[in-house]
Amino acid sequence: MNKSLKEKLLSSFSDIQIDITEDNKVFINTKKDDVISVLNFLKNLGYKHLALISCTDWIEENEFELVYILSSYMENDTEYRNKEKTNILVKTRIPREKAEFVTLINVFANAEPYERELHELYGIYFEGHPRLTPLFLEREYKIPPFRKDFDTKKYVKEVFDNIPFVKDRKEKK
């Protein structure tokens, strides 16, 4: 099952690296220009369920790794086949300095909040996204807080240590 998928992908795309593990996970590494067409190709093969868009900050290599996780819905309402067991992880790397990518909304509608989250927490700009407004956070941060160079302890010290204790305020009176 997964081997024929591998052949199909290899014949359609150059510069693509595919690893299949025993537990039905397919890891696909590709360059960033190909990602949308690979995802479109997989969607047409029946992998219609976008489970997750994630991002890893590889600070030493100065790159972000975007991960798109796909699986498939059942074609038949009652019968379980091997196809649904497969999870496909499509991965690509984008530079950290100019973190930009294109949106996936036209292919998968539920990509919208995931991309909004990555924009907020990692500072990745998704071109073509209709609302990259804040999702979770209420303050402005100089460095997006989920990046590896954002130091949580330092931030807490700077922000909350400057608020005086109740006792000090009383003494001033």
Binding site: K48, Y80, F108, A109
Partner: protein, 365 residues
């Protein structure tokens, strides 16, 4: 008619949980809905990058307040996959029983929220009482009522105490004996039918496009359940059915919740019958000096709300490099809800939201 903006939640009588929706309304009809999460954003995934593998267990269970156990399982399964740890057979059975108990507890909580919102206060009180009986079981097994920290990589923390099996059976019988009462007062009630039928319809096509899982998918007739698709723990060792409905509305989704609770009770009885003897925990390396090999893993399970996933990256150190939870409420609450609310009336907002089974802490993490 004039178009108005209405802030629905977090301080609104019709809202359950820390969640808010900005509605554009014309009279009573909703034209546009903007889901607005973030009231419970605690940044767990960032915090977990700064704690050792074993220290993260008290954190993961707090991601979803209603159902902490699936989160524990997910994290344990991720660590097991990365570190190549096997678990004993008895532990698999115990995990399944424990997770099904948690599912019943979570569904009863969901039933409380839904019945309360519709004004069926009696049903809500019953559901809360019956959930409490399940929490008593958890207290005896793990020492905690809501957060248990029971599943660990390599198995479970301790075996069933003496006489615990009989206690499970007794409790489940006393809850199951009330099913006819629940049916009479709520599920077969004409008011429930009138309020929920043809409300918040999510068709098969819409659900597939917008990442629907769990009850949303099963209410359209598809037996989409990770416990069947990719069995974990002991779910492939017994026979059981996935309850489905056809209409895709709030009425179908709440009926599926009821049927799932009954199916879970049957599953627990079957699992208790087949449970083998043996140890419940495989020794793991010293957790204080535990470096997990480089790699990445994606694991998934069926929580009471649908497909729950975990993407985990290790760089060979004593802490996770990246943890990301895929929670079912995320797509349901931020994509499907916004679509399902269009053209609904203001009185049905809570109805649609709770029937989609959205919990806010799971979205924010």
């Amino acid at each position: 008619m004039r178009e108005l903006e209405l802030y629905f939640g977090p301080q609104h009588l019709g809202m359950v949980g820390n969640f808010s929706i900005t509605l554009n309304v014309e009279g009573d009809r909703i034209i546009k809905a903007d889901a607005n999460p973030g009231f419970l954003h605690r940044g767990f995934e960032k915090l977990m990058e700064q704690r050792t593998w074993i220290q993260n267990f008290p954190l993961v269970c707090r991601i979803n307040v209603v159902e902490p156990d699936s989160m524990e399982l997910m994290y344990a399964m991720g660590v097991e996959k990365l570190a190549n740890i096997e678990i004993p057979e008895r532990a698999e059975y115990i995990r399944s029983i424990y997770l099904e108990l948690a599912r019943i507890g979570s569904h009863l909580f969901g039933l409380w929220a839904y019945a309360n919102m519709l004004g069926f206060d009696t049903v809500a009180q019953w559901a809360m009482y019956h959930r409490d009986l399940i929490l008593d079981l958890f207290e005896e097994l793990t020492g905690g009522r809501v957060y248990h920290i029971y599943i660990l990589p390599g198995g479970v923390r301790r075996d069933f105490p003496e006489g615990f099996k009989d206690k499970i059976i007794k409790t489940l019988h006393s809850i199951g004996g009330c099913v006819p009462d629940y049916d009479n007062i709520f599920f077969n009630n004409r008011i429930f039918y009138k309020r929920a039928k043809n409300i918040g319809i999510v068709t098969r096509k819409e659900a597939e496009e917008m990442g629907g899982v769990g009850q949303v998918m099963r209410a359209t007739g598809m037996k989409y359940d990770i416990r069947k698709i990719e069995p974990y723990a002991a779910y492939d060792k017994i026979d059981w059915e996935v309850p489905t409905r056809k209409d895709g509305d709030a009425y179908s989704r709440i009926w599926i919740v009821r049927d799932e609770m009954i199916e879970s009770v049957h599953m627990i009885f079957k699992l208790l019958d087949k449970m083998p003897q043996g140890k419940v925990f495989n020794k793991i390396p010293n957790p204080f000096k535990w470096n997990i090999p480089k790699g990445e893993a994606y694991v998934r399970c069926e929580s009471s709300r649908g497909e729950l996933g975990l993407y985990m990256v290790s760089n060979g150190k004593d802490k996770p490099y990246r943890v990301h939870f895929r929670t079912p409420s995320y797509s349901h609450g931020l994509t499907i809800l916004e679509k399902a609310l269009i053209n609904a009336s203001i009185a049905d907002v809570g109805n649609i939201m709770i029937s989609l089974y959205i919990v806010a802490p799971e979205i924010d993490r």
